[in-house]
């Protein structure tokens, strides 16, 4: 089982957290085309390599955070960014 480094609680079993999936920005709901919005809803890059993703520390501090993980090796890259979930700063 993965150890996920929560910025507040420290490394925790992944079952203590909820996986929030790949980080990506929410399009402007008033101008997004259907294809843009559905890309936001359903399409993921799913790379074999570094991926910025979101985690929710459900059994600990209950904070969302964003962190990079290498999907091929399961390494995490420091530091996790509290609250920054949808991309932005990488």
């Amino acid at each position: 089982m993965l150890l996920v480094p929560c910025p507040n609680c420290g490394p925790r079993n992944s079952t203590d957290l909820r996986y929030g999936g790949e980080s990506h920005a929410r399009p402007d709901p008033n101008t997004a085309s259907p294809s843009e919005w559905r890309a936001y809803l359903y399409l993921r890059d799913n790379p074999a390599g570094w991926l910025r993703e979101n985690w929710y520390c459900a059994s600990g501090c209950r904070r969302w955070f964003s962190i990079e993980r290498n999907t091929a090796t399961n390494e995490f890259r420091d530091p996790p960014l509290p609250g920054d979930k949808r991309g932005g700063a990488a």
Partner: protein, 949 residues
């Protein structure tokens, strides 16, 4: 071959003073404490322990340890017990498996005469057609299924779980593993040493060599004096991400089994080597055993394996077996040396015993053939860590290639050396494991904001400076010049594998699945490399070219009980629950909650609410306390409707949709003060909505000032419903005017109820009656409930449960998210499309809901069967006429005691949604009934006069 107990051996593990009596297939036997079931039976002269799976061939001892495929027995109600491993206990009722009517006369042995029909894929090919016969095939085949008997009446035994975080886990307690554990412990690491066997020492346990025995004593003494936690009769069954280990402990003093989940900082894999059986004609005849089996029988239990033996030896352990056999008086008819070209071809004899061995072209009379043909490296834990071990033909086994740096191999898995060499390598591995564990520990602590501060920098990742072990040359001995059994658990011969390869199943992974070789209870520990060798031979390639199968968890089979373990599932009840239990409640499980379903007669409960007044405990209703100046903006963002102008003391219904426009939850939210709101959610949505709210606040709108506190269980919640509810509330409330003008529908007030201050009271309800929803500080819930029951006794107050509430909400046509909606139900489909305010700047799901507004969608509608006495099952399909074309389904249905007819909610295609539409409902019985869509959701009181009252 007749085995028998001999004189005392210096290395034996039995206590000859402690005699244990047990039964084997109903007959009386005895053994000694320290015997396994198999050693006790062998000492008593038993030769046949089981019948093989497919051909029901008689089978005897092969390896005399945990992995022995021929020693699976039933002990009492416990099937598939490994008699080669399980210690004998007094009074055991041991029975053979796979034999009917008896081990000695097995009718199904006829299978062996039909053997040529049981080719690989036999079942796939034969029982495919005709398909309609499959149920018959299945019944017949089930009687042939191998394995023991499951007793459905067996009581639930206690299984336990433990979580632990050792620095170093050492899997395997041979000399290298023990040295690794000792060295890591000396270096300051917390260490867990896990031994598959009943005692530590690995192969030293059954070595009669004096130096080996001295080393064993020394290692055990050192271990006793150390801080190492030693687990015997325990197996590291799996290695997962970040050294998360599953360990099953079989000898726990209280639990039948205990599953230990260990997060190790470094793992040392030291499982040793497993002796590989050799493939030749007659290699599964009772009387053919491995050299390890011979040495264990002699040295651990003082059992003489046979009278006259041929020993086929290709290594030092085989040679040592010769000496052990001679010591207990077995005559050595011949030693065939596999290193110098000596070879064996077959055994001869009956199906039950060896009479002769054909070796080097000659037939030698013997009742025992001891085989030392080589080793299998059980690289399982390395495979699970992602390593792909590499085959070395010169040493005739696989070696680790490049495991992750927090997994270290030592002992026979890593290479060969004399005892001192193995011990030194083990100790060096332990030191390295401890150093790397210290670095991991430092990192974990430094990363934990609230942990004790760490001193200094993280230690550098210790380089691997261990002197590598050597590799002893060993002849590649997999199959003789004849064919024989490769997998004795599954009855797969080398001929079967060659046939499979010729049929095209010539990759190991395919051949394994097609023939089921390596898939039996030995988990491939004995069979895998012989299987690979057979495929390689059929393909005319080398083992390296063919490659091997990947060993996956578990390392050794474990019981479902061990996996299920102790239940940690909490049960939640409200503070009022004791009253329910004392009053004939029938409970229903809803998520983790136990809730009152009814108190005997839900229809009577409904009638009482409609006529008088009823109480329902709705504590699980989700409640979020929201405070801050930006709460209205949050509500506007999460609900589809508008919230910017909700007055203090007002309550509003809201529907939430996800970003894909699908209905997520609904409930009412009230404004308690200037910057203070209380949101209610569905009971099942309480946890999810809380996360949803936090998600938006933390990630999308972190600048908003809103503080969220979940208060679901801080309050006990009671809905007081019925025409007499106002009168009842008036008797217990202080400080609030209950008059309809002063406290109208959809408002909230604070009040003192039955002397309890700080209660919230909402004029809302799910039943369609005049009702007051009370939220009482949880500790006072029972008191307030009892006060209401007392105060209303002359008003006919009675409790009602979830079932009554479900009937009443269905009478009112209120949908339940997740019951009447599903994962595809968009907001407008609920019939509440007018709530959705697309002119708001932003809210969750807005674009999808905007696009949905132009589409015709399936709709939630109220439906009444034409025959008022027929209640269609929930999920019954709505179909077109006599066809099976599905046009919708019934989502909720009940018999209404108020209307004396059946009533439903359902989802239908858009063109059926208009009131008055006739539809056809297909019942489970196959019968079709007519029903009519009605033009509003409420079957009862559509104008809502009662609840506003």
């Amino acid at each position: 071959m007749t085995m028998s107990r001999q004189g005392v051996q210096p290395t034996e593990v039995i206590d000859r003073a402690a005699k244990l009596r047990f039964r084997w297939n109903g007959k009386r036997f005895s053994g000694f404490e320290g015997d396994t079931i198999a050693s006790a039976l062998a000492a008593s002269g038993e030769q046949i322990f089981s019948r093989s799976m497919k051909y029901h061939r008689p089978r005897g001892i092969l390896t005399a340890d945990y992995w022995d495929p021929n020693l699976m027995v039933q002990v009492g109600d416990d099937p598939n017990v490994r008699a080669g491993h399980r210690l004998l206990e007094s009074g055991m009722d041991v029975r053979s498996q796979n034999a009917w009517p008896s081990l000695n006369r097995d009718i199904k042995a006829a299978n062996s005469l039909l053997g040529r029909f049981l080719t690989p894929g036999f079942y796939y090919k034969t029982f495919m057609r005709p398909r309609w016969l499959w149920p018959t095939y299945e019944r017949v085949l089930a009687t042939f299924a191998p394995g023991g008997k499951i007793d459905l009446d067996t009581s639930h035994a206690y299984h336990d779980k433990r979580y632990t975080h050792p620095d170093v886990v050492v899997a395997g307690a041979g000399p290298a593993g023990i040295e690794a554990a000792l060295a890591a412990s000396s270096a300051g690491a917390s260490v867990m040493l896990v031994s598959h066997e009943h005692s530590v020492g690995g192969h030293l346990r059954y070595s009669s060599d004096a130096a080996d025995q001295a080393a064993l004593v020394e290692l055990r003494t050192a271990l006793d004096a150390s801080d190492v936690e030693v687990l015997t009769d325990s197996t590291v069954t799996g290695r997962y991400e970040d050294n998360w280990l599953g360990i099953v402990q079989r000898n726990h003093p209280i639990a039948v089994e205990r599953l230990i989940k260990a997060r190790a900082k470094t793992l040392v894999a030291a499982p040793g080597l497993i002796e590989r059986p050799y493939v030749f004609e007659g290699n599964d005849r009772p009387g053919v055993i491995t050299s390890g089996a011979a040495r264990r029988l002699v040295n651990l239990w003082g059992v003489k394996p046979g009278e006259r033996a041929v020993v086929f030896s290709a290594n030092a352990e085989g040679d040592a077996a010769v000496a052990d056999l001679e010591r207990v008086g077995t005559e050595i008819a011949a030693v065939i040396d596999g290193r110098t070209g000596g070879h064996i071809s077959s055994t001869r004899g009956s199906s039950r015993a060896v009479d002769a061995v054909v070796a080097d072209g000659a037939s030698i009379d013997a009742d025992l053939l001891v085989v030392a043909a080589g080793w299998t490296a059980p690289t399982s834990l390395l495979n699970m860590a992602g390593d792909r071990p590499v085959y070395d033909p010169a040493a005739a086994r696989f070696f680790p290639s490049d495991p992750p740096s927090n997994v270290l191999a030592t002992g026979g898995l890593a290479g060969d050396a004399d005892l001192d060499g193995l011990r030194q390598h083990g100790a060096a591995t332990g030191r390295l494991a401890a150093a790397r564990a210290a670095a991991v520990r430092h990192r974990l602590q430094a990363r934990t904001a609230r942990a004790l501060p760490v001193e200094g920098d993280e230690p550098a990742w210790a380089p691997d400076e261990r002197a590598p072990l050597g590799r002893d040359p060993h002849p590649e001995l997999y199959r003789a010049d004849t064919h024989g059994m490769v997998d004795m658990s599954e009855d797969i011969s080398s001929k079967d594998l060659v046939a499979a390869a010729h049929e095209g199943y010539d990759s190991v992974e395919l051949a394994k699945r097609y023939t089921t070789a390596t898939m039996g209870p030995s988990q491939g520990k004995l069979e895998t490399v012989n299987t690979v060798a057979a495929i390689a031979e059929a393909r005319g390639e080398t083992i390296s070219e063919v490659g091997t199968t990947v060993w996956r968890p578990p390392y050794a089979p474990l019981t479902l009980g061990a996996l299920a373990g102790r239940m940690f599932e909490p049960v939640r009840v409200s503070s009022i629950h004791p009253w329910h239990e004392a009053n004939n409640v029938s409970v229903i499980q809803a998520g983790q909650w136990l809730r009152p379903d009814h108190y005997g007669d839900p229809a009577a409960e409904v009638r009482n609410v409609r006529r008088n007044v009823g109480l329902i405990d709705v504590t699980p209703l989700g409640k979020l306390d929201l405070r801050g100046p930006d709460v209205p903006k949050l509500l506007s963002l999460l609900y589809v409707n508008k919230w910017m102008r909700l007055g203090i003391g007002r309550v509003r219904y809201g529907m939430m949709c996800a970003e894909d426009g699908v209905v997520l939850d609904d409930g009412v939210t009230g404004r308690l003060g200037e910057d203070h709101y209380m949101m209610s959610t569905t009971s099942s949505g309480a946890g999810g909505v809380w996360e949803w709210v936090e998600n938006w606040l933390q990630t999308e709108r972190p600048d908003w000032q809103v503080h969220v506190t979940p208060v679901t269980t801080a309050y006990a919640s009671i809905n007081v419903a019925g025409p007499k509810s106002r009168e009842l509330m008036g008797r217990v409330c202080e400080g609030v005017d209950l008059d309809a003008e002063a406290f109208p529908y959809m408002t909230v007030r604070q009040a003192t109820v039955a002397g309890v201050a700080g209660c919230f009271m909402w004029r809302i309800g799910f039943t369609g009656e005049l009702s007051f929803e009370l939220h009482v500080p949880a500790g006072h819930g029972l008191h307030v409930w009892e006060a209401l029951m007392d105060a209303g006794s002359d008003l006919g107050v009675a409790p009602f449960g979830l079932e009554g509430q479900r009937i009443m909400r269905l009478e009112k046509g209120h949908f339940i998210v997740g019951q009447d909606t599903d994962g595809l139900t968009l907001g407008p489909s609920t019939g509440l499309g007018s709530l959705i305010k697309l002119d708001k700047d932003d809210f969750a799901g807005k674009p999808e809901l905007a696009w949905a507004a132009d589409r015709s969608l399936p709709m939630v509608v109220a439906i009444q069967p034409d025959d008022p006495g027929v209640v269609p099952q929930e999920a019954a399909q709505i179909v077109r006429g006599d066809t099976n074309e599905i046009l919708g389904r019934i989502t909720s249905s009940r018999y209404s005691p108020t209307l004396n007819r059946s009533i439903c909610l359902g989802q239908v295609e858009p063109d059926l949604a208009a009131g008055g539409t006739k539809v056809t409902v297909l019942l489970e019985s196959g019968e079709r009934i007519g029903a009519t869509v009605i033009d509003h959701h409420a079957h009862f009181d559509p104008a809502g006069e009662r609840l506003r009252g």
